[in-house]
């Protein structure tokens, strides 16, 4: 019986499993992130500036009252910024990280978040800061931004993707994009034996946009 059921199952399975990975985004975000340090050298939080693609930005601003048509002030966009930040809570702000190998825990952004509108490009940029629950002095710090369900496609800006604010002089930040990560990871994986583990590798997060900060 399975001889003729099998091909049918294959066909059904082919399109009937819209797993997480197979969603397709309708929102593109270009990121610029800052890691904020306290005078004692500990990281206190992450400041994100997320620029949405033009189509989504126009959709999001649809129906919002503006004094000047086609332009929105921060004040006019304040209610939308609040909606944004509130709904981002549900997705952990798409931000995950580790300091010295331990997961970072973030508080919700208290205030000071806002949206800017660029009337020429018709794009919105959301600014917000995620404070760490407990500031930490980290030799190794990674921050990753991704949507597990891939409805939002994040990528770093080409210019100034990451900035360290008030960090100790010896700290160096680097940004890894998914593609670069892929090649580097493939190489390292190739060097591992079947039962070997490399604790510095975290498979599963290899497709994230990753900020790596080393403070030796």
């Amino acid at each position: 019986m399975h001889r003729f059921v099998a091909p049918l199952l294959v066909i059904v399975a082919g399109f009937a499993l819209p797993g997480a990975a197979s969603a397709h985004p309708h929102v593109w975000v270009t990121m610029q992130s800052e890691l904020v340090y306290a005078p004692d050298g500990s990281v206190t939080g992450v400041h994100h500036a997320w620029t949405f693609d033009d189509m989504f930005s126009v959709f999001a601003t649809q129906g919002i009252e503006a004094k000047k048509k086609g332009e929105f002030t921060r004040e006019e966009l304040a209610p939308l910024a609040e909606v944004n930040v509130t709904s981002l809570k549900e997705y952990d702000f798409f931000t995950y990280g580790k300091a010295n190998g331990k997961p970072l825990e973030f508080n919700e952004p208290s205030s000071g978040y806002y949206l800017d509108f660029d009337p020429k490009e018709t794009v919105l940029t959301l600014h917000f800061t995620l404070p760490l629950k407990t500031p930490v002095k980290a030799k190794d710090l990674t921050v990753e931004v991704y949507d597990r369900e891939f409805f939002v496609d994040f990528s770093f800006a080409e210019k100034n993707p990451v900035k360290l604010v008030g960090a100790p002089a010896q700290c160096k930040a680097a940004v890894l994009n998914p593609q670069q990560m892929d090649a580097a990871l493939a190489q390292r994986l190739g060097q591992l034996g079947p039962d070997q583990r490399d604790p510095t590798l975290t498979i599963g997060a290899e497709y994230a946009n990753r900020i790596v900060v080393k403070c030796p």
Binding site: M1, R3, F4, V5, P7, L8, I11, V12, F15, A16, L17, P18, G19, A20, A21, S22, A23, H24, H26, V27, W28, D53, D54, M55, F56, V58, F59, T61, Q62, G63, I64, V83, N84, S87, L88, Y91, D92, Y96, P103, T122, L126, E144, Y146, D147, R148, E149, F150, F151, V152, D153, P178, R197, L201, T202, I203, G204, A205, E206, Y207, A208
Partner: protein, 375 residues
């Protein structure tokens, strides 16, 4: 659903049906859960693991889809100053539609499963695909024209409207799935019992027999009248049209294809069109709102319909493939007497389970095929 005095056999059918529905849903949920979990070899917790972009053909489809989608806004801007650029917009919209439908989404899954469960022809599959895509485009245009164009509604209001449409659409999918489950599940078990009682098969296919409902009458002749009456619609015509050629693997117990192709069949086909076509594509809504803001709503409307055309072509192709696969399975089934028929009924039940499960998972939000993102 008939509430007749239930003999033990009937009760058993009900119990097994319910169990089959649950098992099917759990199976699908489990498969989805795996897809969501993405647990790495180092046991990375689920929340920490991003979705790995799929490689291969599907990955390629996603990449193209994203490319064309992102080109839409640029071409709308271009069309503002240069009328001929509108053609570029329509071309991009068409290709986007083709690729969009090739990606995940419940539309083609429900249509294909519906066709498989209902013994439909590929021609009807094509009609269903185009009709549901047309409806989908119409809903998107109407929604944006009224909500954004006339009422100047905000994005959250529009997303809310989409949510309600979604609920209606998914509920309808559940209804269609449940109905098919019921009809096909019964046909499956009737076949099963007939197989176990070869004598009854003989009775069922005897042209002179006065009941068209052979599968049941052997067990409880006293209910025969009630059954005959109740199922007259389903089995009407069988005894007359197929009595002679019913053969050993006799299609004694399934609704006949010509019954589905009749007026009632089209009415049911309509419910599938509405269930699938009701929910507008998020991409179309964004394109329409963008075009409206650029003062080129008409271009957005044309792009939406062209996009729908592209979607319909892909869905029709996949639906045809599904119908073809079943026909192919049917050829094997024909060569295997009773067991083959049972397998065919099993496939139909499976397809009905898929529809039902899709509806339940979509409605409960366990599975999201599209999202109007609030950020």
């Amino acid at each position: 659903m008939p509430v007749k005095p239930a003999p033990a056999e009937q009760l058993l059918v009900h119990v097994v049906l319910v169990a089959a529905v649950l098992a099917g849903m759990l199976l699908l949920a489990g498969a989805l859960n795996d897809a969501f979990a993405q647990i790495g070899p180092f046991g990375a917790p689920r929340a920490q693991a991003p979705a790995a972009p799929v490689g291969g053909v599907l990955g390629w489809i996603f990449a193209r889809q994203a490319e064309f989608y992102r080109a839409l806004s640029g071409s709308i801007r271009a069309a503002k100053s240069d009328g001929t650029a509108a053609w570029t917009l329509f071309a991009i919209a068409f290709v986007y539609g083709v690729f969009h439908a090739a990606g995940p989404g419940h539309g083609k899954a429900v249509i294909s499963s519906y066709l498989v469960a209902n013994e439909e022809t590929w021609k009807r599959g094509v009609v269903l695909s185009f009709a549901s895509a047309l409806l989908q485009a119409l809903v998107a245009v109407a929604l944006v024209a009224i909500a954004a164009g006339l009422l100047n509604a905000t994005a959250p209001t529009m997303a809310g409207a989409v949510r309600w449409i979604e609920i209606a659409s998914y509920s309808l999918i559940i209804l269609i799935g449940a109905r098919l489950m019921w009809v096909k599940g019964r046909a499956f078990f009737n076949t099963l019992f007939t197989l176990n009682k070869p004598a009854a098969v003989g009775a069922a296919v005897t042209p002179t027999h006065d009941h068209s409902h052979g599968g049941h009458h052997h067990a409880h002749a006293s209910h025969a009248h009630a059954h005959d009456h109740e199922h007259r619609h389903c089995h009407h015509g069988h005894a007359h049209h197929h009595g002679d050629e019913a053969s050993a693997w006799g299609h004694a117990h399934a609704p006949e294809p010509e019954e589905l192709a009749g007026p009632g069949g089209w009415r049911r086909g309509f419910s599938a069109i509405v269930a699938v076509g009701l929910r507008p594509c998020s991409g179309a809504i964004l394109v329409l709102v963008f075009a409206l803001a650029q003062g080129l709503f008409w271009a957005g409307v044309v792009a939406t319909f062209v996009m729908g055309l592209g979607t319909a072509i892909t869905v029709a192709a996949i639906a045809t493939l599904a119908v073809g696969a079943k026909a192919w399975a049917g050829r094997f089934a024909h060569s295997r007497a009773g067991l083959g028929l049972l397998a065919m009924r099993g496939i139909e039940v499976g397809a009905a389970v898929v529809i039902l499960a899709f509806g339940v998972l979509l409605l409960t939000g366990y599975m999201v095929s599209e999202r109007m993102v609030g950020i």
